[in-house]
Amino acid sequence: MFENSDGGVRIELRELTKRYPGQTAPAVDAVSLDVPAGELVVFVGPSGCGKTTTMKMINRLIEPTSGEIRIGDEDVLRMRPDDLRRHVGYVIQQIGLFPHLTIAQNVGVVPKLLGWSKAKINDRVDELLGLVGLDAADFRSRYPRQLSGGQQQRVGVARALAADPPVMLMDEPFGATDPITREHLQNEFLRLQRELRKTIIFVTHDFEEAIKLGDRIAVLREGSHIAQYDRPARILSAPADDYVAGFIGTAGTLKRLALITVEEARTAGDGPEGTAGLPEVEATATLREALDAMVAHGTEEVAAVSGDVRHRLTYQDICQAINSESREVEPSGG
């Protein structure tokens, strides 16, 4: 259906509008947005700002009043809605696994709708369950209620990926899970997305989640107006206005620390000798975790460990990293 099914395709919204009869203000007011192929864009905004409505217009669960949607080269509004939806992955907060179907049958819903052979569906189900970290042999014939919330949401993601859609829509998929499970799922999902490079629109009201997952973030206000659409680091270092700044809240710099890894910030090349006795962090950890270790141990240095290699990371390194990044960002920002 969509060209270039390997990885994602571009999504374009043009003047997309939704008016409900009897309401003066449109729920979604002339939104235009480009989502580059293979990127994960997070719509973040308060409840009722129209972010979910905007997303649901893309798979036409809600029909737009006016405007244009293109996925790849296809004009979405000219397609048959059911065909469209079979080629757009969809994950919702409530997960929506069918309780009367086994996990394998749940994952196989879309392939079955597309008329795949039984053998092909079976192979695909096994592959997908493995992909989301569930043992296929163990889980295939279980029913959803026999799974924990986190496992169910993994199946939800596997089900959305079943027919290998280039585009995925995710509506607060991790919103209903406990914080620990949520973090697990987010990390797993990031790993998966690095591999698959789907084009994803991800709706959340959790700004932390937006920073963590998004390649880009669209901060939305009433009527789905875009307050700022940019990379997370730039939104944090150069919020477009008070509304966006309000979203970031205080401690924006601390949040930015979570976007830079120890590896990226490291300047001093000290070998193992200089790092003896220092608290250790993984080289892939973020500066926020490094700072956390410093504060916890009352030191101004930590050892960045990557296999057998150890490097020293100082408090000054962290400050430098965050400031040099600001300089990179600011001239083009705004």
């Binding site: 069918f98 009367h100 709708l113 014939s141 029913y143 496992q151 499970t181």
Partner: protein, 263 residues
């Protein structure tokens, strides 16, 4: 990966019913037929031990009772089929989002069907259309439609809207969502309504005798009119046994047809 795994009791394919629960289910399924057999046995022994006069003998014989029981079954089964054919599609239609405004009207009408005394309905219909099997059918159907209709509506409406949204979002057509999600998940509720309707119908079918449509009502009414208690009691006990049998079949159907995976 390990933090959110849940220990699952039992092996693959185990739907989680504990052993004690299964034993209880088995007992329930065996209990009713045993009770019915016992009741019929006691009835037989009792009637056998009585000295019957000629009036009683005309009724309490194999041919007569066999014919009445068959008539009763026929009334009940045909009425049930008509009830299913009317009430389930109507319930589906009324549960569609676009048709939800008619649901109070339909519910009101079917409430009426059940609230007005069935014997009154039968008398009115007889005055207007005469007597016979068809008239009895109308009365039975009017009475039995409500539970099935209401349970079909409720059964479909209680399906989690998130499931319907997920199904639509994956590209199922409206018909596919109805057939493979909504109706499938409504099955236990619809069957419960059907079971109620069947049992009601067995009882109400005794009134068919007043419109000359036969059934076990003949025995009961004869027993009362002629003051022949053995006839009355036999007719009553047979009706009860049919009601229990039908209820038992309903419970079997519920257990067999209930989708696996539901708690």
């Amino acid at each position: 990966m390990v933090a959110d795994t849940l220990p699952v009791t039992g092996g693959v394919g185990d739907t989680g019913a504990p052993r004690r629960g299964r034993a209880r289910v088995l007992f329930r399924h065996l209990g009713t037929p045993i009770a019915i057999a016992a009741a019929l046995g006691v009835l037989y022994l009792w009637v056998h031990g009585l000295k019957l006069d000629s009036i009683e003998r005309r009724t309490l014989n194999y041919t007569y009772m066999h014919d009445r029981v068959i008539e009763h079954f026929k009334l009940t089964l045909i009425a049930s089929v008509i009830i299913v054919v009317i009430a389930i599609p109507l319930g589906v239609v009324v549960s569609r989002p676009r048709a939800r405004w008619v649901s109070p009207v339909i519910l009101g009408l079917s409430n009426l069907g059940q609230a007005i005394p069935s014997i009154g309905v039968l008398v009115l219909l007889t005055i207007k259309f005469g007597v016979g099997f068809k008239i009895a059918m109308i009365g039975l159907v009017a009475y039995g439609v409500l539970p099935v209709l209401r349970n079909t509506m409720v059964g479909i409406q209680q399906v989690d809207p998130a499931l319907v949204e997920a199904a639509r979002g994956m590209g199922m057509t409206r018909l596919q969502v109805l057939l493979s999600v909504e109706l499938r998940l409504a099955v236990p509720v619809i069957l419960a309504g059907l079971r109620t309707a069947l049992v009601l119908t067995v009882g109400v079918a005794t009134l068919a005798t007043f419109v000359n449509a036969g059934g076990l009502g003949d025995m009961i009414v004869n027993g009362i009119k002629l003051s022949r208690h053995p006839v009355l009691i036999t007719g009553g006990v047979l009706t009860c046994c049919i009601a229990f049998l039908v209820d038992w079949l309903g419970s079997l159907a519920e257990d067999v047809l209930r989708p696996r995976g539901l708690s």
